[in-house]
């Protein structure tokens, strides 16, 4: 038998090789970009951990702020103040956000819902420094800086996040559940409060936790609303409250290397809180989606 001699050369020639090379190159670029992003995250987290880790101690977490120019001290008042601010913000943004999302997904006609949806999107894209300026003009100018003004400012950051995530979970609740309840004779409000909301509860909570993680790290809305405070513990929300983000900002602008060390340590505390909560919430969110999706 004579060997089969194809007239056409099926192996790739020069052009095919070039196309393959270009393909390889593009794949390489994409992989390097992804590795680069992960590397930047690792570098930022590691340098904060390395520089801030040495300062962390029980005393640092619980003591009063250091007096100006003096060594020692801690960030106890900052942690309490930040918790209070985020608490106030959540107390405002959670009900408003969930009710808005309920209106959009259960009641509104398309003509009513689109301007509200647009407002939420615009609010989400608003530079947060503008929120700071706005709340200063509304609640601080002519009065004093206060915890509730700052909490209100943070709630404007959190509101669109909570509304959006709630909307997404409500969308996942099967239509059949609503129809089933209505067909059994339940009224609209009973259906919403008794059937729809409970099955979306987990998702709403994780969305809120994500919004809290975001709000806890926001500095710009607090800069003009709660930035002049004493160095001791304070729970008086009608006055300025010490808080972590603003203090990191102040320390980072300082020329004193001791202040830089404190800034790193406070940044580590903030970063650990934000990363831990947002990773946990994301994991929980994935589970809720799966559960509701089935």
């Amino acid at each position: 038998m004579a060997a089969l001699e194809p007239a056409l050369d099926l192996r790739g020639g020069g052009r095919t090789r070039r196309r393959r090379l270009v393909n390889r190159f593009a794949e390489g670029v994409a992989s390097v970009a992804a590795i680069g992003a992960v590397a930047v995250l690792a570098i930022v987290v590691l340098s904060v951990a390395q520089r801030g880790g040495g300062e962390l101690s029980w005393g640092f977490l619980t003591k009063d702020l250091p007096l100006y120019g003096q060594p020692g001290g801690g960030i106890g008042p900052l942690i309490v103040g930040s918790a209070l601010l985020v608490g106030i913000a959540t107390a405002i943004a959670l009900p408003l956000g969930v009710l808005t999302a309920l209106f959009l997904s259960e009641f509104a006609s398309p003509r009513l819902s689109s301007p509200i949806q647009l407002t939420l999107d615009l609010m989400n894209g608003l530079p947060s420094i503008i929120i700071g300026v706005f709340v200063f003009g509304l609640l601080v100018y002519g009065h004093t800086q206060s915890g509730y003004a700052a909490g209100f400012a943070l709630s404007i950051v959190m509101l669109p996040l909570i509304a959006r995530s709630t909307q997404e979970v409500l969308r996942l609740v099967p239509l059949a559940q609503r129809e089933g309840a209505l067909a059994l004779g339940a009224s609209r409000w009973r259906t919403v409060l008794g059937i729809v909301l409970p099955s979306a509860l987990g998702g709403i909570l994780t969305g809120t936790v994500l919004a809290v993680a975001r709000g806890a790290g926001e500095t710009a809305p607090l800069l003009f609303t709660t930035s002049i405070y004493a160095n001791t513990f304070s729970t008086d929300v009608s006055h300025s409250l010490p808080n972590i983000p603003v203090q990191i900002f102040i320390w980072s602008e300082s020329a004193d290397p001791n202040d830089h060390k404190r800034a790193w340590a406070a940044a580590l505390v903030l970063l650990l809180f934000v990363l831990a909560t947002s990773l946990l919430a994301r994991a929980a969110l994935g589970r809720t989606r799966k559960k509701l999706g089935q």
């Binding site: 393909n23 190159f25 794949e27 670029v29 994409a30 992989s31 970009a33 992804a34 992003a37 992960v38 930047v40 995250l41 930022v44 904060v48 520089r51 408003l96 009710l99 808005t100 209106f103 259960e106 009641f107 509104a108 509200i116 647009l118 407002t119 939420l120 615009l122 609010m123 608003l126 530079p127 947060s128 420094i129 503008i130 300026v133 706005f134 003009g137 404007i156 509101l159 669109p160 009224s187 609209r188 409000w189 009973r190 975001r214 790290g217 500095t219 710009a220 800069l223 983000p245 990191i248 900002f249 980072s252 800034a263 790193w264 940044a267 903030l270 970063l271 990363l275 947002s278 990773l279």
Partner: protein, 321 residues
């Protein structure tokens, strides 16, 4: 015919309560939605009203004026607009291609388990508070750029004005780098969703015709999601334009326009963050409100533009054929 008493019974208290409940819940949720709109309107109103004094003093020439002199009471946004535009464009030029490449890696290239891990790590990058990123920018990235990166750029590309001048650890260049880190996760996660939404048949069709993976990406995926990519880039740009805290920490604050990227500058948002609290005169406060008003307009325009593009795109995809 006799009437059925049962319906009468049903029509009693329960129906009244249900009707009240329905109305009440509707009213409550409507009120909450209106509150969101009211907040947005109030923000615009307060910011515009605060800038009244500066507007009546300087008029529209405030936008182009390059003087910012607190002692003589002359203010203008020119240098700040320049700093805002340059730092944000630099961020977008670096972050845009990177983010699209990352999104392609996550949607097309990576094995399933890598997708999940790398995808959530990239989103975690967006969770880093800006004040922490700014701290890292001024104490770690800035010195590194000044000692290694900028001298290298200066040596090899120094003939271009933007790379002339002495390297420094704080300036528009470092601000652009920090902003790029903030923009990457935003653009990447939107683009990944876009790429995953491209119909599978189109991709497989291209591959079946003998296209390499890159040719398929270029001809099918990138081509069909162009408007979405544009919207993602605009949203990323909007984020960079409005960032105040991290930029204030690294940009070094300057009152003049420098050609060199290595020199200090200032942006609209960072000037507000740096001076609002300590403004000495009503005119200065009002000028800062004016800056906020400009920033508000820029923010609204970028977001609206992105929305319009997305809506049109979705119309084409769903109603086009």
């Amino acid at each position: 015919m006799s009437s059925i008493p049962a319906t009468q019974a049903l029509g009693g208290t329960r129906r009244l309560r249900d009707r009240l409940g329905d109305r009440l819940l509707f009213a409550l949720t409507l009120l909450a939605s209106l509150a969101a709109i009211a907040i947005m309107v109030a923000i615009a109103y307060k910011v515009v009203r605060g800038s009244k004094l500066a507007f009546s003093t300087f008029g529209l020439s405030f936008v182009t004026g390059t003087t910012w002199d607190a002692t003589n009471g002359v203010f203008g946004a020119g240098t700040l607009l320049y700093g805002t535009a340059v730092s944000s464009l630099m961020a977008l030029l670096i972050a845009g291609p990177l983010a699209i490449a990352i999104a392609l890696f996550l949607s097309e290239l990576a094995p399933r388990w890598v997708r999940g891990v790398v995808g959530s790590l990239v989103e975690t990058l967006a969770a880093i508070p800006s004040v922490v990123l700014g701290l890292w920018g001024i104490l770690v990235l800035g010195p590194f750029a000044a000692n290694h990166f900028e001298p290298w750029l200066h040596r090899s590309l120094g003939f271009i004005p933007i790379f002339s001048g002495d390297p420094s650890s704080s300036g528009i260049f470092v601000a652009g780098l920090v902003l790029a880190i903030m923009v990457v996760p935003i653009v990447a996660s939107i683009c990944r969703e876009l790429f995953l939404a491209v119909p599978r048949e189109l991709e497989e069709g291209a591959l079946a015709l003998g296209a390499t993976r890159w040719e398929m990406v270029r001809g099918v995926i990138l081509f069909s999601s162009r408007p979405g990519i544009a919207a993602a880039l605009i949203l990323g740009l909007g984020r960079a334009l409005g960032e105040a805290i991290a930029v204030t920490q690294v940009i070094g604050s300057a009152t003049a326009i420098h050609a060199s990227l290595f020199q200090p500058g200032d942006t609209l948002a960072s000037r507000i963050a740096a001076q609002f609290q300590g403004a000495g005169t009503n005119l200065q406060t009002s000028s800062l409100f004016y800056l906020a008003a400009i920033l508000l307009v820029i923010g609204l325009v970028t977001n609206l533009a992105a929305q319009v593009i997305v809506r049109r795109f979705e119309f084409h995809r769903t109603g086009g054929d």
